[in-house]
């Protein structure tokens, strides 16, 4: 049970925060626009490894690590992605195993980048904007194809 003085101070904090640190309009727009990225029926490949979260502090002391390794899994499908930072852009080198020959697309909030894939399921693309990213691919299945998307991860 809170008292009136607490409630009043809390209300003051709310007003102050609303004035000094409001949600940027661009973020509200981004949230509203997120629904456009819905892929009903697609399997989500969850993030199973992120090298940036390794506890090996030694690698950070020896110099900035510019390469980040992400691994995603959905059932028997795995997608590995290496991310290289270059200012505000990212270069992505990845592989889908088993190989996906049909449509691999790098998704990011401002659009999609289709990428070519070789017979080993490897792909590479530069100029990906920093921020949330998701790899979408179609995996051939008997009688058709499954759509797989990697869990969104900010890079």
């Amino acid at each position: 049970m809170s008292n009136a003085a607490d409630d009043s101070l809390m209300a003051e904090l709310s007003t102050l925060t609303g004035r000094t640190d409001p949600l940027p309009a661009s973020l509200r727009s981004a949230a509203l626009g997120a629904i456009a990225f819905r892929t009903p029926g697609a399997h989500v490949a969850d993030l199973t490894h992120d090298s940036a979260l390794d506890d090996s502090r030694g690698s950070v002391r020896s110099g900035a690590a510019t390469q980040r390794l992400l691994a995603f899994e959905a059932g028997d499908l795995s997608i590995e992605v290496e991310v290289e930072r270059s200012g505000t852009a990212r270069r992505i080198v990845g592989q889908v195993v088993p190989p996906a020959r049909l449509g691999v697309v790098i998704r990011h909030p401002r659009g999609e980048i289709p990428v070519a894939v070789d017979e080993l399921g490897r792909f590479a693309v530069g100029g990906v904007p920093a921020g949330p990213v998701s790899v979408r691919c179609e995996v051939p299945r008997p009688g058709g194809a499954d759509e797989v998307v990697t869990a969104w991860v900010p890079i």
Binding site: R19, T20, D21, L23, A130
Partner: protein, 199 residues
């Protein structure tokens, strides 16, 4: 928003109703922002965390087990995204010669003095920075508009629901204490000046 109302919005969004999503965003966008700021993320990381949280909801829209608890789901996701980015940012901040406690060094929140209209605002903002990180995070999350439920606050801060009320009271008490000497602002400023001169 009543939980069942939020659940209805999730169910309608799942069914392809394009009017449901904006209502869902409007209800929780303040909370998601407050949570990532509560975790002291700098602007770029805060934007990434917010954006990723909403994209993750879209990604999981069909799989959410309890649509009525979407607020708690969003709070948990915002917390996870903030922690991830904070951890990564901490690593990039580490420099050869300096040993910094990654989780203990808060990113200073820039306060645009042009926005602070009164001395009171200044005093409150300054007093807030003197509180523990835990208190600052709790008060930041509680100050979201619309205010989050205690279940959502609990998920956002990994704080037991039962302790939120007492912690809120304690933190507001400390804030009030810190604000009390504000009346002697002149004295405080003289002391500061004295310190500078002594150097």
């Amino acid at each position: 928003m009543a939980p069942d109302l939020a659940g209805d919005l999730v169910r309608r969004a799942r069914a392809g109703d394009t009017t449901a999503w904006p209502d869902l965003v409007e209800r929780y966008t303040g909370m998601v922002w407050a949570i990532v700021r509560g975790y002291r993320l700098a602007d770029g990381d805060a934007a990434d965390a917010v954006q990723t949280t909403w994209l993750r909801l879209v990604e999981h829209l069909d799989r959410i087990m309890e649509p009525d608890r979407v607020g708690t789901w969003l709070a948990t996701t915002a917390r996870n995204e903030a922690l991830r980015l904070r951890r990564i940012a901490g690593r990039h901040v580490l420099v050869e010669d300096v040993d910094i406690d990654v989780m203990g060094t808060p990113v200073p929140v820039e306060i645009d003095s042009a926005l602070l209209r009164e001395e009171r605002d200044t005093a409150v903002a300054r007093a807030l920075t003197g509180l523990s990180e835990r208190c600052q995070a709790l008060l930041r999350v509680l100050s979201a508009d619309p205010p989050p439920s205690y279940d959502e606050v609990s998920a956002a801060l990994a704080m037991p629901v039962g302790s939120i009320g007492p912690t809120r009271a304690r933190c507001l008490g400390k804030l009030r204490e810190a604000l009390a000497p504000a009346g002697a602002a002149g004295l405080f400023e003289e002391k500061e000046l004295g310190d500078v001169e002594r150097r």
